[in-house]
Protein backbone atom coordinates (compact mmCIF):
# COMPACT_ATOMS: atom_id res chain seq x y z
CA UNK A 1 0.00 0.00 0.00
CA UNK A 2 2.73 2.39 0.90
CA UNK A 3 4.50 1.36 -2.33
CA UNK A 4 1.49 2.42 -4.44
CA UNK A 5 1.14 5.70 -2.67
CA UNK A 6 4.80 6.35 -3.28
CA UNK A 7 4.38 5.68 -7.04
CA UNK A 8 1.27 7.85 -7.32
CA UNK A 9 2.97 10.64 -5.63
CA UNK A 10 6.08 10.58 -7.72
CA UNK A 11 4.92 9.66 -11.28
CA UNK A 12 4.01 12.76 -13.28
CA UNK A 13 1.68 10.80 -15.57
CA UNK A 14 -0.78 10.04 -12.76
CA UNK A 15 -1.28 13.67 -11.93
CA UNK A 16 -4.86 14.77 -12.69
CA UNK A 17 -5.75 11.22 -13.74
CA UNK A 18 -9.34 11.49 -12.50
CA UNK A 19 -9.98 14.65 -14.51
CA UNK A 20 -8.44 13.12 -17.63
CA UNK A 21 -10.54 9.94 -17.39
CA UNK A 22 -13.60 12.01 -16.61
CA UNK A 23 -13.10 14.15 -19.76
CA UNK A 24 -12.52 11.03 -21.84
CA UNK A 25 -15.71 9.34 -20.57
CA UNK A 26 -17.69 12.56 -21.04
CA UNK A 27 -16.45 12.90 -24.60
CA UNK A 28 -17.39 9.29 -25.28
CA UNK A 29 -20.87 9.81 -23.84
CA UNK A 30 -21.26 12.99 -25.86
CA UNK A 31 -20.12 11.20 -29.00
CA UNK A 32 -22.57 8.34 -28.52
CA UNK A 33 -25.37 10.78 -27.71
CA UNK A 34 -24.65 12.85 -30.83
CA UNK A 35 -24.59 9.70 -32.86
CA UNK A 36 -27.95 8.58 -31.49
CA UNK A 37 -29.40 12.05 -31.96
CA UNK A 38 -28.13 12.27 -35.52
CA UNK A 39 -29.51 8.81 -36.35
CA UNK A 40 -32.82 9.74 -34.77
CA UNK A 41 -33.03 12.94 -36.80
CA UNK A 42 -32.10 11.08 -39.97
CA UNK A 43 -34.71 8.44 -39.28
CA UNK A 44 -37.29 11.09 -38.54
CA UNK A 45 -37.79 10.15 -34.89
CA UNK A 46 -38.10 13.79 -33.91
CA UNK A 47 -40.09 14.88 -36.91
CA UNK A 48 -43.65 15.78 -35.97
CA UNK A 49 -46.13 13.35 -37.46
CA UNK A 50 -49.91 12.98 -37.62
CA UNK A 51 -51.94 9.81 -37.68
CA UNK A 52 -54.01 9.00 -40.76
CA UNK A 53 -56.15 5.87 -40.90
CA UNK A 54 -57.51 3.58 -43.52
CA UNK A 55 -59.45 0.33 -43.55
CA UNK A 56 -58.43 -2.60 -45.75
CA UNK A 57 -60.45 -5.73 -46.42
CA UNK A 58 -57.50 -7.82 -45.37
CA UNK A 59 -54.19 -7.03 -43.73
CA UNK A 60 -52.32 -9.27 -46.14
CA UNK A 61 -49.03 -7.74 -47.33
CA UNK A 62 -49.40 -4.73 -45.00
CA UNK A 63 -46.92 -4.56 -42.13
CA UNK A 64 -46.05 -2.20 -39.32
CA UNK A 65 -43.07 -0.09 -40.43
CA UNK A 66 -44.02 -0.34 -44.10
CA UNK A 67 -43.10 2.95 -45.85
CA UNK A 68 -45.74 5.29 -47.21
CA UNK A 69 -44.56 7.12 -50.30
CA UNK A 70 -45.82 10.03 -52.31
CA UNK A 71 -44.41 10.39 -55.81
CA UNK A 72 -41.45 8.23 -54.79
CA UNK A 73 -40.65 10.16 -51.56
CA UNK A 74 -41.14 8.61 -48.17
CA UNK A 75 -43.69 10.67 -46.26
CA UNK A 76 -44.43 8.30 -43.40
CA UNK A 77 -44.90 4.73 -42.34
CA UNK A 78 -47.43 2.28 -41.00
CA UNK A 79 -47.45 2.62 -37.21
CA UNK A 80 -50.28 0.41 -36.01
CA UNK A 81 -52.50 -2.36 -37.29
CA UNK A 82 -55.56 -3.99 -35.81
CA UNK A 83 -58.82 -5.66 -36.65
CA UNK A 84 -62.11 -3.79 -36.38
CA UNK A 85 -65.54 -5.15 -35.40
CA UNK A 86 -66.17 -6.21 -39.03
CA UNK A 87 -62.94 -8.24 -39.05
CA UNK A 88 -61.38 -5.73 -41.45
CA UNK A 89 -57.83 -4.51 -41.07
CA UNK A 90 -57.66 -1.06 -39.50
CA UNK A 91 -54.33 0.55 -40.27
CA UNK A 92 -52.82 3.71 -38.82
CA UNK A 93 -50.09 5.56 -40.65
CA UNK A 94 -47.93 8.33 -39.25
CA UNK A 95 -47.46 10.99 -41.91
CA UNK A 96 -44.89 13.72 -41.44
CA UNK A 97 -46.67 17.03 -40.85
CA UNK A 98 -44.68 18.85 -43.51
CA UNK A 99 -46.08 16.40 -46.12
CA UNK A 100 -49.59 16.20 -44.67
CA UNK A 101 -50.39 19.56 -46.22
CA UNK A 102 -49.85 18.00 -49.63
CA UNK A 103 -52.66 15.50 -49.11
CA UNK A 104 -56.29 16.40 -49.71
CA UNK A 105 -59.50 15.06 -48.19
CA UNK A 106 -60.01 12.53 -51.01
CA UNK A 107 -56.44 11.31 -50.93
CA UNK A 108 -55.96 7.56 -51.31
CA UNK A 109 -53.34 4.97 -50.55
CA UNK A 110 -52.75 1.85 -52.58
CA UNK A 111 -50.62 -1.19 -51.92
CA UNK A 112 -47.93 -1.49 -54.55
CA UNK A 113 -44.66 -3.21 -55.20
CA UNK A 114 -41.43 -1.38 -55.83
CA UNK A 115 -40.35 -2.85 -59.16
CA UNK A 116 -41.54 -6.19 -60.43
CA UNK A 117 -40.23 -8.25 -57.53
CA UNK A 118 -39.55 -5.47 -55.03
CA UNK A 119 -40.86 -4.85 -51.52
CA UNK A 120 -44.45 -3.81 -50.93
CA UNK A 121 -45.09 -0.15 -50.15
CA UNK A 122 -48.09 2.10 -49.64
CA UNK A 123 -48.31 4.65 -52.42
CA UNK A 124 -50.29 7.76 -51.54
CA UNK A 125 -52.22 9.83 -54.05
CA UNK A 126 -52.75 13.50 -53.27
CA UNK A 127 -56.43 13.80 -54.14
CA UNK A 128 -58.29 16.54 -55.98
CA UNK A 129 -56.87 20.06 -56.06
CA UNK A 130 -60.10 21.79 -55.07
CA UNK A 131 -60.60 19.71 -51.92
CA UNK A 132 -59.67 20.68 -48.37
CA UNK A 133 -56.42 19.68 -46.78
CA UNK A 134 -56.36 16.32 -45.01
CA UNK A 135 -56.69 16.71 -41.24
CA UNK A 136 -54.74 14.70 -38.67
CA UNK A 137 -56.65 11.62 -37.55
CA UNK A 138 -58.74 11.49 -40.73
CA UNK A 139 -59.53 8.28 -42.61
CA UNK A 140 -58.80 7.86 -46.27
CA UNK A 141 -59.59 5.25 -48.94
CA UNK A 142 -57.40 2.26 -49.58
CA UNK A 143 -57.04 0.06 -52.62
CA UNK A 144 -54.86 -2.86 -53.54
CA UNK A 145 -53.11 -2.22 -56.81
CA UNK A 146 -50.31 -3.35 -59.09
CA UNK A 147 -48.53 -6.66 -59.04
CA UNK A 148 -49.18 -9.61 -61.27
CA UNK A 149 -51.51 -11.23 -58.72
CA UNK A 150 -53.64 -8.11 -58.71
CA UNK A 151 -53.79 -8.03 -62.53
CA UNK A 152 -54.90 -11.66 -62.58
CA UNK A 153 -57.47 -10.96 -59.86
CA UNK A 154 -58.73 -7.88 -61.68
CA UNK A 155 -58.98 -9.79 -64.94
CA UNK A 156 -60.89 -12.55 -63.20
CA UNK A 157 -63.24 -10.10 -61.47
CA UNK A 158 -64.05 -8.39 -64.72
CA UNK A 159 -64.31 -11.53 -66.84
CA UNK A 160 -66.54 -13.60 -64.59
CA UNK A 161 -69.70 -11.43 -64.75
CA UNK A 162 -69.42 -11.17 -68.53
CA UNK A 163 -68.93 -14.91 -68.86
CA UNK A 164 -71.92 -15.45 -66.58
CA UNK A 165 -74.04 -13.31 -68.88
CA UNK A 166 -72.94 -15.30 -71.93
CA UNK A 167 -73.75 -18.51 -70.07
CA UNK A 168 -77.18 -17.20 -69.12
CA UNK A 169 -77.90 -16.20 -72.71
CA UNK A 170 -76.91 -19.61 -74.03
CA UNK A 171 -78.92 -21.33 -71.30
CA UNK A 172 -81.95 -19.20 -72.15
CA UNK A 173 -81.56 -19.97 -75.84
CA UNK A 174 -81.47 -23.70 -75.08
CA UNK A 175 -84.28 -23.70 -72.52
CA UNK A 176 -87.57 -24.97 -74.07
CA UNK A 177 -89.46 -22.65 -71.72
CA UNK A 178 -87.10 -19.75 -72.32
CA UNK A 179 -88.04 -16.61 -74.24
CA UNK A 180 -86.11 -17.54 -77.38
CA UNK A 181 -87.62 -21.01 -77.77
CA UNK A 182 -91.10 -19.82 -76.79
CA UNK A 183 -91.06 -17.03 -79.31
CA UNK A 184 -89.80 -19.32 -82.02
CA UNK A 185 -92.55 -21.82 -81.12
CA UNK A 186 -95.18 -19.10 -81.29
CA UNK A 187 -93.91 -17.97 -84.66
CA UNK A 188 -94.02 -21.56 -85.90
CA UNK A 189 -97.61 -21.89 -84.66
CA UNK A 190 -98.54 -18.60 -86.26
CA UNK A 191 -97.12 -19.75 -89.57
CA UNK A 192 -99.07 -23.04 -89.38
CA UNK A 193 -102.28 -21.22 -88.61
CA UNK A 194 -101.74 -18.85 -91.48
CA UNK A 195 -101.35 -21.84 -93.77
CA UNK A 196 -104.70 -23.17 -92.46
CA UNK A 197 -106.35 -19.79 -93.00
CA UNK A 198 -105.15 -19.74 -96.60
CA UNK A 199 -106.58 -23.20 -97.18
CA UNK A 200 -109.87 -22.08 -95.77
CA UNK A 201 -110.00 -18.99 -97.98
CA UNK A 202 -109.25 -21.15 -101.01
CA UNK A 203 -112.08 -23.39 -100.01
CA UNK A 204 -114.38 -20.42 -99.56
CA UNK A 205 -113.57 -19.14 -103.04
CA UNK A 206 -114.40 -22.51 -104.47
CA UNK A 207 -117.68 -22.50 -102.65
CA UNK A 208 -118.53 -19.05 -103.94
CA UNK A 209 -117.87 -20.13 -107.47
CA UNK A 210 -120.39 -22.91 -107.02
CA UNK A 211 -122.88 -20.41 -105.67
CA UNK A 212 -123.45 -22.13 -102.35
CA UNK A 213 -124.18 -19.07 -100.32
CA UNK A 214 -125.09 -20.98 -97.16
CA UNK A 215 -121.60 -22.32 -96.75
CA UNK A 216 -120.02 -18.91 -97.05
CA UNK A 217 -120.97 -17.77 -93.60
CA UNK A 218 -119.27 -20.49 -91.52
CA UNK A 219 -116.17 -20.34 -93.65
CA UNK A 220 -115.96 -16.64 -93.30
CA UNK A 221 -116.40 -17.16 -89.61
CA UNK A 222 -113.40 -19.46 -89.62
CA UNK A 223 -111.43 -16.83 -91.50
CA UNK A 224 -112.39 -14.34 -88.90
CA UNK A 225 -111.29 -16.66 -86.12
CA UNK A 226 -107.95 -17.35 -87.80
CA UNK A 227 -107.37 -13.72 -88.36
CA UNK A 228 -108.15 -13.06 -84.73
CA UNK A 229 -105.78 -15.77 -83.68
CA UNK A 230 -103.07 -14.38 -85.95
CA UNK A 231 -103.67 -10.97 -84.53
CA UNK A 232 -103.34 -12.28 -81.00
CA UNK A 233 -100.13 -14.06 -81.84
CA UNK A 234 -98.72 -11.07 -83.60
CA UNK A 235 -99.60 -9.04 -80.55
CA UNK A 236 -97.73 -11.49 -78.36
CA UNK A 237 -94.78 -11.47 -80.70
CA UNK A 238 -94.83 -7.70 -80.70
CA UNK A 239 -94.93 -7.77 -76.95
CA UNK A 240 -92.10 -10.24 -76.55
CA UNK A 241 -89.83 -9.11 -79.33
CA UNK A 242 -88.69 -5.84 -77.75
CA UNK A 243 -87.72 -7.72 -74.58
CA UNK A 244 -85.89 -10.33 -76.59
CA UNK A 245 -84.15 -7.73 -78.69
CA UNK A 246 -83.26 -5.83 -75.54
CA UNK A 247 -81.80 -8.99 -74.02
CA UNK A 248 -79.89 -9.76 -77.19
CA UNK A 249 -78.63 -6.19 -77.27
CA UNK A 250 -77.55 -6.46 -73.63
CA UNK A 251 -75.77 -9.73 -74.34
CA UNK A 252 -74.04 -8.32 -77.41
CA UNK A 253 -73.10 -5.30 -75.32
CA UNK A 254 -71.70 -7.61 -72.67
CA UNK A 255 -69.78 -9.52 -75.33
CA UNK A 256 -68.36 -6.25 -76.60
CA UNK A 257 -67.47 -5.25 -73.05
CA UNK A 258 -65.87 -8.66 -72.50
CA UNK A 259 -63.73 -8.24 -75.57
CA UNK A 260 -62.82 -4.72 -74.45
CA UNK A 261 -62.06 -5.97 -70.94
CA UNK A 262 -59.81 -8.71 -72.29
CA UNK A 263 -58.14 -6.28 -74.65
CA UNK A 264 -57.62 -3.71 -71.91
CA UNK A 265 -56.36 -6.34 -69.47
CA UNK A 266 -53.93 -7.65 -72.06
CA UNK A 267 -52.87 -4.11 -72.94
CA UNK A 268 -52.29 -3.32 -69.28
CA UNK A 269 -50.56 -6.52 -68.31
CA UNK A 270 -48.54 -7.12 -71.47
CA UNK A 271 -45.97 -4.38 -70.82
CA UNK A 272 -45.57 -5.52 -67.21
CA UNK A 273 -45.31 -9.15 -68.23
CA UNK A 274 -42.84 -8.42 -70.99
CA UNK A 275 -40.84 -6.31 -68.54
CA UNK A 276 -40.98 -9.09 -65.99
CA UNK A 277 -39.86 -11.65 -68.55
CA UNK A 278 -37.14 -9.32 -69.78
CA UNK A 279 -35.85 -8.76 -66.27
CA UNK A 280 -35.96 -12.46 -65.51
CA UNK A 281 -34.13 -13.27 -68.75
CA UNK A 282 -31.54 -10.64 -67.95
CA UNK A 283 -31.15 -11.99 -64.44
CA UNK A 284 -30.69 -15.55 -65.69
CA UNK A 285 -28.25 -14.38 -68.34
CA UNK A 286 -26.24 -12.38 -65.78
CA UNK A 287 -26.22 -15.31 -63.35
CA UNK A 288 -25.07 -17.63 -66.11
CA UNK A 289 -22.31 -15.20 -67.04
CA UNK A 290 -21.18 -14.99 -63.42
CA UNK A 291 -21.26 -18.76 -63.07
CA UNK A 292 -19.42 -19.22 -66.38
CA UNK A 293 -16.75 -16.73 -65.37
CA UNK A 294 -16.45 -18.22 -61.89
CA UNK A 295 -16.24 -21.76 -63.20
CA UNK A 296 -13.41 -20.85 -65.57
CA UNK A 297 -11.43 -19.05 -62.88
CA UNK A 298 -9.16 -20.29 -60.17
CA UNK A 299 -9.88 -21.99 -57.76
CA UNK A 300 -13.29 -23.21 -59.02
CA UNK A 301 -11.77 -24.10 -62.36
CA UNK A 302 -9.94 -27.06 -60.85
CA UNK A 303 -13.06 -28.25 -59.02
CA UNK A 304 -15.53 -27.97 -61.90
CA UNK A 305 -16.05 -30.59 -64.55
CA UNK A 306 -15.06 -29.23 -67.95
CA UNK A 307 -18.16 -28.47 -70.05
CA UNK A 308 -18.88 -31.11 -72.66
CA UNK A 309 -18.34 -30.21 -76.27
CA UNK A 310 -18.00 -31.92 -79.61
CA UNK A 311 -19.70 -35.22 -80.38
CA UNK A 312 -22.12 -36.71 -77.90
CA UNK A 313 -20.78 -40.06 -76.75
CA UNK A 314 -22.66 -42.79 -78.57
CA UNK A 315 -22.21 -46.46 -79.19
CA UNK A 316 -23.39 -49.21 -81.50
CA UNK A 317 -26.61 -49.77 -79.56
CA UNK A 318 -27.71 -46.12 -79.13
Amino acid sequence: MSQMKLLADKDERFKGLFVKVGIFVLLAILGVSFNLLFSGIKKGLFTPKSPINFVAGTGQDIKVGMPVKLNGFKIGSVSKMGMDEKAQARVEMLIENRYLSLLKEDAMVSLKQEGVIGDSILEARRGSEGKKQLQPGASIEFERGGGLDRIAQDLRDRLYPALDEINKLLKDANDPKGDVRQTLGNLRQFSAEMRGTRARIDHLLDQINEGVANDVRPTLHAVKQSAESAEAIMGKVNQELPGLIKKTDASIDNLRQTSETIKSAVDNSAPELSGFLGETRGLVSDTRNIMDSASTSWPLKSMMQAPEQGLVKMDSHD
Binding site: R288, L311, M314
Partner: protein
Protein backbone atom coordinates in the same frame (compact mmCIF):
# COMPACT_ATOMS: atom_id res chain seq x y z
CA UNK B 1 20.02 -9.05 -55.07
CA UNK B 2 16.87 -8.19 -53.17
CA UNK B 3 17.38 -7.32 -49.60
CA UNK B 4 15.85 -10.03 -47.35
CA UNK B 5 14.12 -7.44 -45.17
CA UNK B 6 12.47 -5.83 -48.21
CA UNK B 7 11.41 -9.24 -49.53
CA UNK B 8 9.88 -10.06 -46.17
CA UNK B 9 7.79 -6.92 -46.44
CA UNK B 10 6.63 -7.35 -50.02
CA UNK B 11 6.07 -11.10 -50.20
CA UNK B 12 2.35 -10.88 -49.24
CA UNK B 13 1.86 -8.41 -52.08
CA UNK B 14 3.64 -10.74 -54.52
CA UNK B 15 1.47 -13.64 -53.36
CA UNK B 16 -1.66 -11.55 -53.76
CA UNK B 17 -0.60 -10.53 -57.28
CA UNK B 18 0.02 -14.16 -58.21
CA UNK B 19 -3.36 -15.19 -56.84
CA UNK B 20 -5.02 -12.39 -58.78
CA UNK B 21 -3.31 -13.59 -61.95
CA UNK B 22 -4.57 -17.12 -61.33
CA UNK B 23 -8.05 -15.86 -60.64
CA UNK B 24 -8.50 -13.75 -63.74
CA UNK B 25 -11.10 -15.03 -66.18
CA UNK B 26 -9.95 -16.17 -69.63
CA UNK B 27 -10.32 -13.59 -72.40
CA UNK B 28 -13.73 -13.36 -74.03
CA UNK B 29 -14.31 -14.60 -77.55
CA UNK B 30 -16.35 -12.76 -80.17
CA UNK B 31 -20.06 -12.73 -79.33
CA UNK B 32 -21.20 -15.10 -82.11
CA UNK B 33 -18.56 -17.72 -81.28
CA UNK B 34 -19.35 -17.38 -77.60
CA UNK B 35 -23.04 -17.83 -78.34
CA UNK B 36 -22.40 -20.94 -80.45
CA UNK B 37 -20.29 -22.43 -77.67
CA UNK B 38 -22.89 -21.68 -75.01
CA UNK B 39 -25.70 -23.09 -77.15
CA UNK B 40 -23.76 -26.30 -77.63
CA UNK B 41 -23.08 -26.58 -73.90
CA UNK B 42 -26.75 -25.93 -73.13
CA UNK B 43 -27.71 -28.65 -75.61
CA UNK B 44 -25.38 -31.05 -73.82
CA UNK B 45 -26.93 -30.16 -70.50
CA UNK B 46 -30.43 -30.71 -71.88
CA UNK B 47 -29.35 -34.07 -73.32
CA UNK B 48 -27.85 -35.13 -70.01
CA UNK B 49 -31.05 -34.04 -68.20
CA UNK B 50 -33.10 -36.16 -70.60
CA UNK B 51 -34.87 -33.11 -72.07
CA UNK B 52 -34.74 -34.28 -75.68
CA UNK B 53 -37.08 -31.58 -77.00
CA UNK B 54 -34.83 -28.83 -75.71
CA UNK B 55 -31.68 -30.69 -76.74
CA UNK B 56 -33.07 -30.98 -80.27
CA UNK B 57 -33.82 -27.28 -80.51
CA UNK B 58 -30.45 -26.29 -79.08
CA UNK B 59 -28.43 -28.64 -81.27
CA UNK B 60 -30.35 -27.30 -84.27
CA UNK B 61 -29.49 -23.75 -83.22
CA UNK B 62 -25.89 -24.76 -82.64
CA UNK B 63 -25.72 -26.33 -86.11
CA UNK B 64 -27.13 -23.20 -87.75
CA UNK B 65 -24.85 -20.93 -85.73
CA UNK B 66 -21.78 -22.92 -86.73
CA UNK B 67 -22.93 -23.00 -90.36
CA UNK B 68 -23.38 -19.24 -90.27
CA UNK B 69 -19.77 -18.96 -89.11
CA UNK B 70 -18.55 -21.41 -91.79
CA UNK B 71 -17.23 -23.72 -89.09
CA UNK B 72 -17.67 -26.98 -91.02
CA UNK B 73 -16.40 -29.47 -88.42
CA UNK B 74 -18.47 -27.89 -85.63
CA UNK B 75 -21.62 -27.74 -87.78
CA UNK B 76 -21.12 -31.42 -88.78
CA UNK B 77 -20.70 -32.37 -85.12
CA UNK B 78 -23.89 -30.52 -84.20
CA UNK B 79 -25.71 -32.25 -87.08
CA UNK B 80 -24.52 -35.69 -85.91
CA UNK B 81 -25.59 -34.88 -82.35
CA UNK B 82 -28.94 -33.63 -83.64
CA UNK B 83 -29.40 -36.86 -85.60
CA UNK B 84 -28.84 -38.82 -82.38
CA UNK B 85 -31.59 -36.83 -80.67
CA UNK B 86 -33.94 -37.37 -83.64
CA UNK B 87 -33.19 -41.09 -83.50
CA UNK B 88 -33.88 -41.20 -79.78
CA UNK B 89 -37.17 -39.44 -80.45
CA UNK B 90 -38.07 -42.03 -83.06
CA UNK B 91 -37.78 -39.66 -86.03
CA UNK B 92 -35.36 -41.75 -88.08
CA UNK B 93 -36.27 -39.94 -91.32
CA UNK B 94 -34.99 -36.62 -89.99
CA UNK B 95 -31.93 -38.28 -88.46
CA UNK B 96 -30.96 -40.01 -91.72
CA UNK B 97 -31.57 -36.86 -93.74
CA UNK B 98 -29.02 -34.95 -91.62
CA UNK B 99 -26.45 -37.73 -91.88
CA UNK B 100 -27.00 -38.14 -95.63
CA UNK B 101 -26.30 -34.44 -96.04
CA UNK B 102 -22.89 -34.88 -94.39
CA UNK B 103 -22.17 -37.96 -96.51
CA UNK B 104 -23.46 -36.48 -99.76
CA UNK B 105 -20.94 -35.70 -102.49
CA UNK B 106 -22.48 -32.30 -103.14
CA UNK B 107 -22.09 -31.20 -99.53
CA UNK B 108 -19.05 -29.24 -98.39
CA UNK B 109 -16.08 -31.46 -97.68
CA UNK B 110 -16.35 -32.41 -94.05
CA UNK B 111 -13.40 -34.00 -92.25
CA UNK B 112 -13.09 -37.77 -92.95
CA UNK B 113 -13.40 -38.59 -89.27
CA UNK B 114 -16.77 -36.87 -89.08
CA UNK B 115 -17.96 -38.44 -92.35
CA UNK B 116 -16.98 -41.83 -90.89
CA UNK B 117 -18.87 -41.08 -87.70
CA UNK B 118 -21.89 -39.99 -89.72
CA UNK B 119 -21.79 -43.24 -91.73
CA UNK B 120 -21.46 -45.25 -88.53
CA UNK B 121 -24.43 -43.43 -86.99
CA UNK B 122 -26.41 -44.08 -90.16
CA UNK B 123 -25.59 -47.80 -89.90
CA UNK B 124 -26.77 -47.91 -86.25
CA UNK B 125 -30.08 -46.30 -87.20
CA UNK B 126 -30.57 -48.66 -90.15
CA UNK B 127 -29.77 -51.73 -88.02
CA UNK B 128 -32.31 -50.54 -85.46
CA UNK B 129 -34.83 -50.13 -88.29
CA UNK B 130 -34.11 -53.69 -89.51
CA UNK B 131 -32.66 -52.49 -92.83
CA UNK B 132 -29.71 -54.87 -92.84
CA UNK B 133 -28.64 -54.43 -96.48
CA UNK B 134 -28.56 -50.63 -96.28
CA UNK B 135 -26.80 -50.84 -92.92
CA UNK B 136 -24.06 -52.98 -94.51
CA UNK B 137 -23.51 -50.30 -97.16
CA UNK B 138 -23.29 -47.59 -94.49
CA UNK B 139 -20.85 -49.70 -92.48
CA UNK B 140 -18.66 -50.13 -95.55
CA UNK B 141 -18.72 -46.39 -96.08
CA UNK B 142 -17.76 -45.84 -92.41
CA UNK B 143 -14.86 -48.28 -92.80
CA UNK B 144 -13.80 -46.51 -96.01
CA UNK B 145 -13.56 -43.17 -94.25
CA UNK B 146 -11.18 -44.68 -91.66
CA UNK B 147 -7.70 -44.35 -93.03
CA UNK B 148 -5.96 -46.08 -90.13
CA UNK B 149 -7.35 -47.00 -86.72
CA UNK B 150 -11.01 -46.02 -86.44
CA UNK B 151 -12.18 -44.59 -83.16
CA UNK B 152 -15.41 -46.48 -83.64
CA UNK B 153 -13.95 -49.80 -84.82
CA UNK B 154 -15.29 -51.62 -81.73
CA UNK B 155 -18.72 -50.18 -82.44
CA UNK B 156 -18.47 -51.29 -86.08
CA UNK B 157 -17.61 -54.85 -85.05
CA UNK B 158 -20.52 -54.83 -82.60
CA UNK B 159 -22.80 -53.65 -85.39
CA UNK B 160 -21.51 -56.44 -87.63
CA UNK B 161 -22.25 -58.85 -84.76
CA UNK B 162 -25.81 -57.44 -84.50
CA UNK B 163 -26.27 -57.92 -88.25
CA UNK B 164 -24.99 -61.50 -87.98
CA UNK B 165 -27.42 -62.17 -85.11
CA UNK B 166 -30.19 -60.79 -87.27
CA UNK B 167 -29.25 -63.18 -90.07
CA UNK B 168 -29.10 -66.12 -87.65
CA UNK B 169 -25.34 -66.51 -88.12
CA UNK B 170 -24.66 -66.97 -84.38
CA UNK B 171 -21.15 -68.37 -84.80
CA UNK B 172 -20.03 -65.29 -86.77
CA UNK B 173 -21.73 -63.02 -84.25
CA UNK B 174 -19.89 -64.75 -81.39
CA UNK B 175 -16.50 -64.35 -83.14
CA UNK B 176 -17.14 -60.65 -83.77
CA UNK B 177 -18.33 -60.04 -80.20
CA UNK B 178 -15.32 -61.81 -78.77
CA UNK B 179 -13.00 -59.75 -80.97
CA UNK B 180 -14.46 -56.61 -79.39
CA UNK B 181 -14.14 -58.10 -75.90
CA UNK B 182 -10.47 -58.78 -76.56
CA UNK B 183 -9.58 -55.46 -78.11
CA UNK B 184 -11.83 -52.70 -76.79
CA UNK B 185 -11.50 -50.74 -73.60
CA UNK B 186 -14.74 -48.79 -73.97
CA UNK B 187 -17.19 -49.93 -71.33
CA UNK B 188 -20.26 -49.30 -73.50
CA UNK B 189 -18.96 -51.37 -76.40
CA UNK B 190 -17.62 -54.04 -74.05
CA UNK B 191 -21.07 -54.39 -72.48
CA UNK B 192 -22.67 -54.51 -75.93
CA UNK B 193 -20.18 -57.22 -77.00
CA UNK B 194 -20.87 -59.26 -73.84
CA UNK B 195 -24.60 -59.06 -74.53
CA UNK B 196 -24.22 -59.99 -78.21
CA UNK B 197 -21.99 -62.92 -77.23
CA UNK B 198 -24.55 -64.06 -74.65
CA UNK B 199 -27.38 -63.90 -77.21
CA UNK B 200 -25.31 -65.94 -79.70
CA UNK B 201 -24.32 -68.48 -77.05
CA UNK B 202 -27.92 -68.84 -75.89
CA UNK B 203 -28.94 -69.57 -79.47
CA UNK B 204 -26.05 -72.05 -79.79
CA UNK B 205 -27.10 -73.79 -76.55
CA UNK B 206 -24.00 -72.66 -74.60
CA UNK B 207 -26.03 -71.56 -71.60
CA UNK B 208 -23.28 -71.47 -68.98
CA UNK B 209 -21.11 -69.19 -71.15
CA UNK B 210 -24.16 -67.10 -72.00
CA UNK B 211 -24.93 -66.65 -68.30
CA UNK B 212 -21.36 -65.48 -67.62
CA UNK B 213 -21.55 -62.95 -70.45
CA UNK B 214 -24.99 -61.71 -69.46
CA UNK B 215 -23.82 -61.17 -65.88
CA UNK B 216 -20.71 -59.35 -67.12
CA UNK B 217 -22.86 -57.16 -69.36
CA UNK B 218 -25.21 -56.50 -66.44
CA UNK B 219 -22.34 -55.38 -64.22
CA UNK B 220 -21.03 -53.00 -66.88
CA UNK B 221 -24.46 -51.61 -67.73
CA UNK B 222 -25.14 -50.98 -64.07
CA UNK B 223 -21.85 -49.12 -63.83
CA UNK B 224 -22.90 -47.07 -66.86
CA UNK B 225 -26.40 -46.55 -65.48
CA UNK B 226 -28.27 -47.65 -68.60
CA UNK B 227 -31.72 -48.81 -67.54
CA UNK B 228 -32.94 -50.14 -70.88
CA UNK B 229 -29.86 -52.31 -71.24
CA UNK B 230 -30.02 -53.46 -67.61
CA UNK B 231 -33.52 -54.72 -68.36
CA UNK B 232 -32.22 -56.60 -71.42
CA UNK B 233 -29.41 -58.16 -69.37
CA UNK B 234 -31.72 -59.16 -66.51
CA UNK B 235 -34.21 -60.67 -68.94
CA UNK B 236 -31.32 -62.54 -70.62
CA UNK B 237 -30.10 -63.88 -67.27
CA UNK B 238 -33.63 -64.98 -66.36
CA UNK B 239 -34.03 -66.71 -69.71
CA UNK B 240 -30.70 -68.57 -69.47
CA UNK B 241 -31.28 -69.57 -65.83
CA UNK B 242 -34.63 -70.97 -66.81
CA UNK B 243 -32.89 -73.02 -69.53
CA UNK B 244 -30.37 -74.19 -66.94
CA UNK B 245 -33.21 -75.38 -64.70
CA UNK B 246 -32.67 -72.74 -62.02
CA UNK B 247 -36.32 -71.71 -61.97
CA UNK B 248 -36.52 -69.77 -58.66
CA UNK B 249 -33.48 -67.65 -59.60
CA UNK B 250 -34.86 -67.17 -63.09
CA UNK B 251 -38.12 -65.87 -61.64
CA UNK B 252 -36.26 -63.53 -59.29
CA UNK B 253 -34.28 -62.06 -62.22
CA UNK B 254 -37.44 -61.74 -64.28
CA UNK B 255 -39.08 -59.83 -61.42
CA UNK B 256 -36.05 -57.57 -61.16
CA UNK B 257 -36.21 -56.92 -64.91
CA UNK B 258 -39.89 -56.04 -64.66
CA UNK B 259 -39.27 -53.72 -61.71
CA UNK B 260 -36.43 -51.89 -63.49
CA UNK B 261 -38.50 -51.62 -66.65
CA UNK B 262 -41.51 -50.25 -64.79
CA UNK B 263 -39.44 -47.67 -62.91
CA UNK B 264 -37.63 -46.62 -66.07
CA UNK B 265 -40.96 -46.17 -67.85
CA UNK B 266 -42.23 -43.90 -65.09
CA UNK B 267 -39.20 -41.63 -65.27
CA UNK B 268 -39.59 -38.32 -67.11
CA UNK B 269 -37.42 -37.62 -70.14
CA UNK B 270 -37.49 -41.19 -71.33
CA UNK B 271 -36.75 -41.33 -75.03
CA UNK B 272 -39.45 -42.20 -77.55
CA UNK B 273 -37.17 -44.81 -79.02
CA UNK B 274 -36.92 -46.73 -75.77
CA UNK B 275 -40.68 -46.38 -75.38
CA UNK B 276 -41.20 -48.03 -78.73
CA UNK B 277 -39.02 -50.98 -77.82
Amino acid sequence: MINRAIFKKIWPAILLALLAACGSAPPRQPAAIEQARKTEQAAYRAMRDGDLMRARELFRQSMLLQQSLDNLPASAMAAINLSLVYHKQGDDGAALSLLDHILSDTAPVYPAELRGTAAFRKAVILVDAGKAAEAEVALQQAAGECKQQCVYSAGMNNLHARLALGKGDYAAALVLAKSVMNSSTEKEELANAQRSAAIAETALGQHEAALTHYLAALELDKELGMSVRIVMDLQGVAWVMDKLGRKPEAEAYARRAAAVDEAAHLLPGRSVKSALH
